[in-house]
Each structure stands twice: as structure tokens, then as C-alpha cells.
Amino acid sequence: MTKRVACSEMDDPALVAAAKRGRMDAFEELVARHRDKVYARAYSMMRNEDEAIDLSQEAWVKGWQRLKQFQGEASFVTWITRIVINLCLDQLRKQKRVRAESIEQLDEELGGVERQMPIVNPNPTDKLERIELRQRIDRALGQLSYEHRTVLVLHEFEELEYKEIAKRMECSIGTVMSRLFYARRKMAALLAGLKREESR
């Protein structure tokens, strides 16, 4: 008689293989292991708890439905995170938060770069507790526009290349580069501002 291996003892590829064979308990274990990561990505993009929960759960449902398509090119957690990113982008588009950026607008904005550089340096060597720094970054992220936040999250946290970000955000690589630059500049300014506020 073959003994059914407990899901908690299995690694991710084994759980994925079992889930592909229809074992729901294996999929439940994958959810338990990676739900925080998937939720965190949804939250970082949506900045709304309820939406992040709904979209992360939807990502898991889609993950189950598309499991047979997962061939293991990337890790399972990377794959499921990509699903939630796409769902968040779709949702943001539906909410019409995406503003079409004309070339003229972009040029106008970029024209200000020279005047605005250099900007306040956030000084990463500050003796901040890590958790405090993370909280500041999170607050600053919350103050960015959807476009700037998304490009920053996808590049800095998901480590996607310009080309990949452009594809997902349905824009040009030039737009990604521009948005990324302004996102970084705003982040630096916001972090410096938060620091000044706290020191008063």
C-alpha cells in the first residue's frame, strides 16, 4: 500500500505536481505557503486591503485553473505572482486610473529634469531601523501615482526588465524609463520629506 505523503513535507514542485493531478490539499498547502507574498504584491499595487484580498484570491483560482500550463520555467511563487500582477493591472485599467500619456506631456515633464536635478538625497546610510525604513518607503509608495508606483514595484521589487514592464503596462520602453526616473525622484523627495516631518 502506498502511503500518501503529507503536503507539509513536500516541496513546491512536488505540491504543484500533486495539484496538477487534482489534489486540492496540495494546492491548499501552496496557498498557505505563498498567500502573504501574493497578497503583498496585490496590496502594493492597489493600496487597498479589500481589493488586494479579492484579487489575490482570484489569482489563486486562476492559478488552479491554469496549473497545467505551468511548466516550471520560473518558480511557482514567481508564476502565481505574475498572475496577480496582471489581475491588478487589469483592475486598475478598469478603474480608469491609467491615464494616457501623450508624447507632448512626456516631453514637457522631462524638460523639467535638468532644473530639478540634483534633488534631495534620502541618505540610505541613515541609522534607521530596518522596519522603520520599510514603513517610510511604504508610506511614500502610497503617495505615488498609480503609474509611478507600479513601475517602481515591478522594477525594484519584482525585478522585471524594462521590456517586460512595458509589455505588462501596455506602454513603450521610453515611457517605462521616464516613469521609473520620476518615481525614483519622487520617492527620494518623499522620503526626505517624511524624515524632515519626523525630526520636527
Binding site: 498557505a32 484580498i53 483560482v61 485553473q65 540634483p118 524594462y162 521609473l180
Partner: protein
């Protein structure tokens, strides 16, 4: 410093340039103080963010969170079991019914024609002449090829 150069510096730091472009930027950076300052600023900001995403946890228990996922999976699977066949299959079904009717008709016709060809002494395109009643001088003529039957009756009154 113009926009194009600033974005190129950023791409250099993000390792998005080709090897040749990266070499050019690197050489230029070594001799340009302003570019070095911009580069330092971009690098500091990038370093500040790297690995510093605030860890966030699902504000629900695993059981509650999973129950909604499981319910949705079950609902969708049940729905797909009762789903109508796909468009192509439905189209084929619509075509198949009349085709089946035509096929039955053709089969019936063949069954009707076959016994005639089998019972006759003449196979293929044959003609049959049969006298039904000798006294009455009745003669029938059937042509399989022409698809007609002619019956000629001579009452013998002449």
C-alpha cells in the same frame, strides 16, 4: 544635462544597456562630475528601495482565506460540467441533424432500388418485358435506365 542622457545613466545603473553602450557610458562617467552626481543619486535611491519592501500579511486566517478560493474553484468546476458544448460543437450539431435526415432518405431509396436490381435477371441498365396475362395479351415494359414502366393491354377484341 539633457533628458536622454539622464535616462541613459539610469538604464546603465539598471543594467539595461548593451555591452557596447555600457562601455561608452562608463568611460563618459569617469570624466564627468555632473554625471557622477546624478548617477550617485540614482544609485542611492535604488539601493534604498532594494529589499526594503514592507512585509505585509493577509489580514485573514488561512482557513477563511482558503475557504473562499475553494468555494470558487468548486463553483467554477460545477459550472463547467453543465456548460453547453463549445460553439464549434453546437454548429456541428445543427448541421448533423439535417445531414442525418438526408442520409436516412438516401438509405431508404437505396433499399428500395436494390431489391429491384437484385431480383431482375438483367443487371445494371436492364429492360424488362413481362407478359402478365397471356389470354389478355397484356404486356408490361420496365426500363431501369429510363426509370419508367409501360403496360400495354390487348383485350383481343380485334
Amino acid at each position: 544635462m539633457n533628458t536622454e542622457i539622464i535616462l541613459k545613466l539610469q538604464a546603465y545603473l539598471d543594467e539595461e544597456l548593451t555591452a557596447e553602450e555600457a562601455r561608452q557610458v562608463s568611460a563618459w562617467l569617469a570624466s564627468d562630475a555632473e554625471a557622477q552626481a546624478v548617477c550617485r543619486h540614482l544609485r542611492d535611491t535604488k539601493a534604498l528601495l532594494a529589499g526594503n519592501e514592507l512585509p505585509v500579511k493577509v489580514p485573514e486566517t488561512q482557513e477563511f482565506y482558503w475557504s473562499k478560493i475553494q468555494r470558487e474553484i468548486t463553483r467554477l468546476e460545477a459550472a463547467s460540467d453543465h456548460e453547453p458544448p463549445p460553439v464549434l460543437a453546437r454548429w456541428w450539431m445543427r448541421l448533423a441533424v439535417p445531414l442525418a435526415g438526408v442520409a436516412v432518405l438516401v438509405l431508404l431509396l437505396l433499399m428500395l432500388v436494390k431489391p429491384l436490381s437484385e431480383s431482375g435477371a438483367l443487371a445494371g441498365s436492364f429492360h424488362e418485358i413481362e407478359t402478365q396475362i397471356e389470354e389478355a395479351n397484356a404486356i408490361s415494359f420496365h426500363s431501369q435506365a429510363a426509370g419508367m414502366t409501360v403496360v400495354w393491354i390487348d383485350s383481343g377484341s380485334n
